[in-house]
């Protein structure tokens, strides 16, 4: 077994625990440890991605129990892609936090590392109940992170966190009901085993299996911010501290990932001989809900009065686009979605950081979309960053968001949803362009009386570094668009070849023990 597969879970766990111990007394050491662990996570994730690109799905048996009985981790291209993305977003967000935000409350670094542990675990696990546990790990860390930060906006944060916690706890209850229902029906929680067992269900349990599948969809839609369930997102993301909001750019993607995994592994058409009662229960709903999410996100973007609120709706719009890609459920549309996911996650993280810089540079200190004076010397760098990020998020050439949307429109051409997809994806992009142009001109171009009179804001080299790294990642997603799209293409093919995943997870052999304790005890007459 390749022990590197468990490293993305183990490393943040150890680092987070050490940071919790060090946190109060040795803040500088905890920060260094956190940065080191995040850099290590980037290295591990890249190594795993190169490894996964070989094309075989690799299973890792936690506790060395044979497959359907113990908990398995599985590494395929999709999981590896999500790991790399998580590590990169975490690095950008942590760099920014080191510019001062990490000291605005206790235990930032340990919560940050536990959040990473939950994220990596959720992407790697091949067990449905274990997915629930990792969801809880990442959620409980995110509750703490959302509350992080003293001073300005604390009241807003309390309010948003109360909503966020209650909403997600209700979601967790639903997740447990769905998981235990599936367990009651099939007697297994291993997702590979579940895919086979669902195909053998007697017809009288079909309705229950469908109910469980739809409950899972509701739970994942809460995380992914799909239409009737996204209302928690704008408040939560707009009130979080900047680096936390940047890290949360990956949080909606957990829901998207879970929907991608379950629609391709458990609940999909039986063309490969694994037809089940719960096949295709998501299929009729996802495109409709995703398109409606896009429309409402476009309206939200246009109606936003604060920059952070606008960006939060950009996140909702990207979630809508991604779920549309999954809902169209062809190999090409999923490949397009995975490509778009990389760009949209990186750019959303960069956006939250830029918005924070903009707010700090303004004389009013807020981020209302009304003209006010910018501090001397900040106009040009912030304007350039704003422009690059706006081009990337709106899906304009030459940056990768354009390729993602182009691939989606191309893939949608062969489906029943072609007309709606083209109209609404292009329409929402137009709304985003208009909203960003309006926001940019009111922040940077509207003349104000006391322009240039305010002093330069408190500035930290780490802030610049984080924004530059974030935008460089967005740009490199465009420069390396070809290898990236080859990877996402292969990842989509791998997702649609579920027999390979099932075979790899169920076929993984436990490592023979170095010492057979039972036999030794038998030999010495100490056991029956």
């Amino acid at each position: 077994m390749n022990h590197l597969i468990v490293a993305p879970v183990a490393l943040p766990l150890v680092a987070g625990a050490l940071c919790a111990l060090l946190g109060g007394r040795r803040p500088r050491l905890a920060a260094a440890l956190s940065l080191g662990a995040t850099l290590g996570l980037v290295a591990i994730a890249v190594a795993l991605a190169l490894h996964a690109n070989g094309g075989t799905v690799q299973a890792y048996l936690l506790g060395n129990w044979a497959a359907p009985f113990g908990i398995s981790l599985a590494l395929d291209r999709l999981a590896a892609l999500m790991l790399v993305l998580t590590a990169l977003v975490a690095l950008v967000s942590l760099l920014y936090a080191l510019g001062g935000d990490h000291a605005r409350g206790a235990h930032f670094h340990s919560l940050f590392q536990f959040q990473l542990m939950g994220l990596c675990g959720a992407f790697l696990t091949a067990d449905l109940f274990n997915l629930f546990v990792f969801f809880e790990v990442l959620l409980s860390a995110s509750y703490g992170l959302l509350l992080h930060g003293d001073g300005a906006g604390q009241r807003e944060r309390f309010k948003a966190t109360v909503h966020y916690v209650i909403f997600n706890l209700a979601g967790s209850a639903l997740f447990l009901i769905a998981v235990s229902l599936l367990y009651g029906l099939t007697g297994t929680l291993n997702m590979a085993d579940l895919a086979i067992r669902l195909a053998d269900l007697p017809p009288d349990s079909a309705a229950l299996a469908q109910a469980a599948a739809l409950m899972l969809l509701v739970v994942f839609a809460v995380k992914a911010a799909l239409l009737p369930l996204y209302f928690w997102l704008p408040d939560a993301y707009a009130s979080a501290t900047a680096p936390v909001a940047a890290l949360f750019a990956i949080m909606t993607k957990v829901g998207v990932y879970a929907i991608a995994r379950t629609t391709t592994l458990l609940f999909r058409d039986g063309t490969d001989g694994l037809a089940s009662a719960a096949s295709l229960v998501f299929a009729p709903m996802l495109p409709v809900l995703a398109l409606a999410t896009l429309v409402l996100a476009a309206i939200g973007v246009l109606a936003a009065t604060r920059l952070r609120g606008l960006i939060a709706y950009l996140v909702v719009a990207s979630a809508g686009t991604l779920l549309l890609c999954l809902g169209l459920a062809t190999r090409d549309s999923v490949a397009a979605g995975l490509f778009y996911l990389v760009n949209s996650t990186l750019v959303a993280a960069a956006w939250f950081l830029i918005a924070d810089r903009v707010a700090r540079a303004r004389s009013s200190g807020d981020e209302l979309l009304q003209p006010t004076a910018l501090a001397r010397g900040t106009w040009a760098p912030l304007g350039v960053a704003f422009f690059i990020a706006a081009v990337a998020v709106a899906g304009m050439p030459p940056l990768a968001g354009f390729f993602g949307k182009a691939l989606l429109l191309q893939a949608a051409g062969h489906t029943a949803w072609a007309g709606w997809t083209v109209a609404l994806v292009l329409g929402s992009s137009l709304a985003i362009v208009v909203a960003l142009a309006r926001a940019g001109s009111s922040i940077f171009w509207k003349p104000v009386a006391d322009s240039g009179s305010t002093a330069a804001p408190r500035h930290h080299a780490m802030h610049t570094a984080a924004v530059v790294v974030g935008l460089a990642l967005v740009a490199s997603a465009s420069v390396f668009a070809r290898p990236l799209s080859a990877f996402t293409d292969a990842a989509a093919s791998q997702l649609f070849d579920r027999r390979a995943y099932i075979g790899a997870v169920l076929g993984a052999d436990p490592v023979p023990p170095a010492y057979d304790v039972r036999r030794e005890m038998r030999d010495r007459g100490e056991a029956k």
Partner: protein, 118 residues
């Protein structure tokens, strides 16, 4: 017994959802607690509950489902209890802190217009 369990789970869920929909943090905490009781019972029942048989395979019993209960739902319930207990504690702490910061236990962090504070 099945009917009793079903009614129990239904009652817990119903009360939990009703309390959850009220706009006060304390009611929401109670609602979530009741909901988690319902969920725990539900997980337990999904493992085909039996009385009077152990969840361990033993040399003087045949290792069939007639002679043993499925131990996995019990492990799942334990995990679920631990998580929901911790989350309730966290939510209570958060509710207290919000109450102190906003002088109201309304979930929106302030009394709505036209409604007398309780």
């Amino acid at each position: 017994m099945n009917l009793l369990l079903a009614i129990g789970i239904g009652t817990f869920t119903g009360c939990g959802v009703w309390l959850l929909l009220r706009a006060r943090t304390f009611d929401a905490v109670l609602g979530l607690t009741l909901l988690s009781y319902a969920v725990n019972l539900f997980i337990f029942v999904m493992g085909r509950w039996k009385t009077g048989v152990p969840p361990i395979v033993n040399s003087d019993r045949l290792a069939t489902l007639a002679d043993t209960t499925d131990p996995l739902p019990q492990a799942l319930v334990l995990t679920a209890i631990v998580i929901s207990f911790a989350m309730t504690a966290l939510l209570l702490a958060l509710a207290l802190r919000t109450n102190a910061a906003t002088a109201s236990d309304h979930v929106d962090g302030g009394e709505p217009e036209g409604e007398a504070p309780r």
